[in-house]
Symmetry: C2
Subunit: 147 residues, 2 copies
């Protein structure tokens, strides 16, 4: 990612490209997503919007996330029981990463690992199905919660 600004710009451009209209609420949502580093819920976005005095209905947040997901500009993650989480992504899959979830404090820590990616790639070739996407979720205790 080249900074939050970059993502919002790419997203805005790609939306236009795909025949979507510009609008105040929608770009406010894009801004909010872009400034979040990783895995936020729709509620998190709503809170951020409110803090920035942007009046955006929750439905619009969800509808925007849906469009962005279709364009692969956000990735949706389901980590455990809570609500779905979303994070900005580049459609070409650059800066791919995965997540560690602390079972005590609930913190989500992103990480990258080349060996893991290679193992999954090799696995994809071995399986008789075409693998387009993958998620790896590690669970345990984060350094802070380990006593």
């Amino acid at each position: 990612m080249h900074g939050p600004q970059a993502w919002a710009e790419v997203a805005e451009a790609m939306l236009r490209e795909h025949g979507h209209k510009a609008s105040g609420p929608r770009s406010a949502v894009l801004e909010s997503i872009g400034r979040q580093s990783c895995v936020v819920t729709a509620q998190d976005l709503a809170v951020d919007l409110k803090r920035r005095k942007k009046k955006v209905g929750i439905a619009t947040v969800y509808r925007t996330l849906e469009v962005l997901e279709d364009l692969k500009l956000v990735q949706r993650l389901d980590l455990g029981t809570e609500s779905a989480r979303y994070e900005p992504a580049m459609p070409d899959g650059r800066h791919h990463h995965h997540h560690f979830v602390c079972r005590d404090c609930g913190d989500v820590i992103p990480f990258e690992d080349d060996a893991l990616e290679r193992a999954i790639e090799a696995l994809g070739r071995r399986l008789s199905a075409s693998v387009e996407e993958h998620d790896v979720i590690l669970k345990g205790r984060c350094p802070d919660c380990e006593k």
Copy 2:
């Protein structure tokens, strides 16, 4: 897994060991879980129970799943938007596997891969957090849906 029968027996024994009482509804739920091969929803279990003429409230299904999850006798998975899914497991982690989800038909196909497990194990050592559990979810098109 040594057959569905075996799992239900192990589960029943372990529940007793942990001070839980035996009951008709609960063992009916255990049976239902044991006979399912992989990743079922609470609703799936309710349907199976009804078909077998067992009258068990949905709350009991959820409460039983919760207890089993605490004892690591079932693993809970969140695959996409639908409801949570559960599958029988052995508490020692034997017969560990992961899942491929077809984005067209929604089918879930289990698979095992040693290289992947090794990569995750090495990764766990590299990270400064203690990894206790991991899930890998692949998404794509299954052989049937690929044209």
